[in-house]
């Protein structure tokens, strides 16, 4: 085994007709870590994930999972929850989970045992005989989680996992992800809402327009950017914010602002200016948010949102 890499993506490209969905993408997902694939909609995340899952073929480059090229064999090492989720509506919960687990290579006995365990964990044992169409949205989302993890793989891939989840299930999924990492499993997930994942990811890969713009350890990346962002809470006239030079205001409301400090501007000057105009409740110098890192890496004008292929 090479290092501790679980998923290695090497110089990957994929073209659909004339659209270059993915171009020369490379990144490594290390074992036992949470890896975030970030970028706006249409940046090529789903296409990359589908290739990792061996759902669509690779045009150029290579993907290896535990040093094996992607194949039906590597599919079984992965638990995948796609962005477009769904279940057979007319099938019973139990039958459906057994079917999906068997497709991942489990024997019928193992499948039943694991399904019992997870249904128990989610207080859902009495759903076993229910038809999926009768379940509420939240309930069927739980069944979807079970379907993803039931075969106890080493690698988990979630594509936009939090989109469409209700708050309770969002929390539940976060818990599951953290729990899986504690067990030494590898997790890769994608999202276009970067603020959502800052607390969870160990490593990230930023996508824009089919290309990787930044990849690495999230802590290191943030450190590299330095503490160049001010979080400020205040009361009073906020119009002074418009007068500030060499800053970018990312997040602004009546009594809050997130200010990115650009070249040759000092936080102290901003504070002085602020005191002159408003009552300052909080002035906090922090590392930039992921969103800010993305914008400053790509440049505001280069963020293209295109149709997801």
């Amino acid at each position: 085994m090479s290092k501790t890499n679980t998923i290695q993506v090497n110089n990957l490209s994929k073209t659909f007709g004339k659209t270059k969905a993915v171009q020369n993408v490379s990144f490594d997902v290390e074992k036992g870590r949470i890896f975030g694939l970030l970028g706006p909609n249409g940046a090529g995340k789903t296409t990359t994930i589908r290739m990792i899952n061996y759902i669509i073929p690779v045009d150029q480059g290579s993907i290896t999972i535990n040093d094996l090229p992607v194949s039906p064999k590597t599919q079984r090492l992965i638990g995948y929850m796609p962005e477009e989720r769904g279940l057979y509506k007319k099938m019973k919960v139990g039958e459906q989970l057994i079917y999906l687990a068997q497709l991942k290579g489990l024997s019928i006995g193992d499948a039943k045992e694991k399904i019992r365990y997870w249904l128990g964990r989610f207080n859902a044992l009495d759903w076993n005989q229910k038809v999926v169409g009768e379940l509420s949205k939240g309930m069927s989302q739980k069944i979807q989680f079970i379907a993803t993890i039931v075969h106890d793989p080493d690698i988990y891939i979630f594509d936009e996992p939090f989109s469409g989840l209700d708050p309770i299930n969002s929390e539940l999924l976060k818990e599951i992800i953290i729990e899986l990492r504690e067990k030494g499993k590898t997790i890769l997930f994608s999202t276009h809402r970067m603020e959502q994942v800052e607390q969870m990811c160990d490593d990230i890969c930023l996508f824009n327009n089919g290309k990787v713009v930044l990849t690495g350890n999230l802590r290191d990346i943030k450190k590299k950017f330095g503490k160049n962002t001010v979080l400020m809470e205040f009361q009073g006239d906020s119009s002074f914010l418009d007068q500030l030079k060499n800053v970018r205001i990312n997040n602004r409301s009546t009594n809050f602002a997130e200010i990115r400090i650009l070249d040759s501007q000092s936080p102290q000057d901003i504070l002085k200016e602020a005191i002159n105009h408003a009552e300052i409740h909080k002035f906090h110098l922090v590392e930039p948010s992921l969103n800010e890192i993305f914008i400053s890496t790509v440049g505001e004008d280069n963020i293209k949102i295109q149709e997801e292929a």
């Binding site: 759902i55 599919q75 992965i78 477009e84 989720r85 099938m91 079917y99 497709l103 991942k104």
Partner: protein, 431 residues
């Protein structure tokens, strides 16, 4: 291809369907519906021949009108005393359907008759009046020629003709052509219906997986070709189950009915002879003994049924994968529907005239063979090379359609949002 995965898909497709209420209802209702459609069809034909009309007869000889009145007093009114002008008024005011003016010359010199009428009533009306007139005129002419009653009876007879088949090894058997022609048509029709029915099952199944959005979960475990194969095999097994149930029911009922029918027949064997001659007069084949369907025909039926199903089902799956909802399938369905319907039209020809050029050619063209060939096999002795060639061509074509469909299916199942057109399909095939 991993056959374990294929089998898992097959099992799911089969079990979820076979246990569904829809399947049980269809198994019971389709034969009832089939009989009902034919019953209604026969009723419509019977009704149609029953036209109500009233024809005024102005007969200068008064002999014809008397005979007509004897034959059907309701339809022919003796209006000999009324002037032509009044008759015309009666027609115009729709008191009578029309009138015929008969003179001595019509009888003696065969001058054609003329019916003056409002123009409604159609072909059946004209045909009925014409045949009534012919009968009565012939009777009158025979009477005038002073022909004896014997000779008149001779004119009234219609000789019956029975047919028996002589096989190559000199065996003579009862000819069941009329019956077998019916069997051939029904078998062709069942295959026609089955291609649509089970093809539709597959198409809806594919669309369901797309709209449910489960397809991506499935394709992260199963290759598209495995999924497609499993689906086709699962629905195929379902088809065999359903047709099997129907076949066993029919055979079972026939076996139950045979002894009852034969005791009934022997008890009334004298009446039977009379009934037979009557049937012969009316050109209706009366089945004095129940004709048998050969086992080889049933085997051929199953073979052509399965090949026809396979040939078309993968295409239905491809259409389903390209569409985003069932209502979007119509444009793409056209190239599949066209050959099935052409085959259905050829079936009318082949079940009446199995050796005609169009029947023979149609039965060998792969997209038509399943429907056309089975009707030919049922009725006549089709040379084996033709059957063999048809089967061979169907297998080759099946491989082709499967290859094509697999390419479309692979891309189609993962394209959400909009339904694809023919242009997209071509692109997917080239990919």
């Amino acid at each position: 291809m991993n056959w374990r995965q294929v089998f898992l898909v097959l099992k799911r497709e089969y079990l979820t369907r076979v246990k569904s209420k829809g399947f049980i209802a269809a198994t019971l209702l389709v034969p009832i519906g089939f009989i009902a459609i034919y019953g209604i069809g026969i009723l419509v034909v019977v009704w149609e021949s029953d036209v109500s009309y009233q024809i005024g007869i102005k007969d200068d000889t008064s002999q014809i009108v008397t005979a007509l009145n004897e034959q059907s007093p309701e339809q022919y009114l003796n209006l000999s005393d009324i002037s032509i002008d009044s008759l015309r008024t009666l027609v115009q005011t729709e008191e009578i359907t029309g009138y015929v003016h008969i003179t001595e010359e019509n009888i003696s010199k065969n001058i054609p008759l003329e019916l003056i009428y409002s123009g409604s009533g159609g072909m059946t009306l004209l045909g009925t009046i014409r045949s009534d007139m012919r009968d009565v005129f012939r009777q009158e002419q025979l009477k005038r020629a002073e022909v004896s009653q014997e000779v008149r009876d001779i004119f009234a007879t219609r000789i019956a003709m029975d047919s028996r088949r002589l096989s190559e090894d000199g065996e003579e058997t009862d000819d069941d052509t009329a019956f077998l022609s019916g069997v051939g048509f029904v078998m062709g029709f069942i295959i026609f219906g089955a291609i649509f029915g089970y093809g539709g099952y597959i198409m809806r199944g594919v669309i369901e997986e797309k709209t449910n959005r489960i397809i991506e979960v499935i394709t992260s475990s199963v290759k598209p070709i495995e999924l497609l194969t499993g689906k086709m095999a699962g629905v195929g097994a379902l088809a065999v189950t359903q047709i099997g149930i129907w076949l066993i029911t029919v055979v079972g009922l026939a076996m139950l009915a045979a002894p009852i029918l034969s005791t009934f027949m022997s008890a009334q064997s004298e009446d039977l002879a009379a009934a037979e001659s009557m049937a012969a007069q009316a050109d209706i084949p009366l089945l004095s003994n129940i004709p048998t369907i050969e086992t080889s025909l049933i085997i051929y039926f199953v073979v052509f049924f399965l090949l026809g199903y396979l040939l078309y089902s993968s295409l239905f799956a491809a259409v389903g994968s390209a569409a985003d909802s069932e209502t979007d399938t119509q444009q793409l369905m056209l190239p599949i529907m066209a050959p099935i319907f052409i085959a259905y039209f050829i079936l009318f020809q082949s079940s009446r005239n199995p050796e005609s050029v169009i029947s023979v050619v149609g039965s060998i063209i792969p997209f038509f063979s399943p429907i056309v060939m089975i009707s030919r096999i049922a009725i006549s002795d089709v040379p084996f090379w033709q059957i063999g060639l048809a089967i061979f061509l169907m297998i080759i074509t099946f491989i082709g359609t499967m290859w094509l469909s697999a390419k479309i299916y692979k891309v189609g199942i993962l394209s959400y949002g909009s339904s694809a057109g023919f242009k997209d399909l071509l692109k997917w095939i080239r990919q």
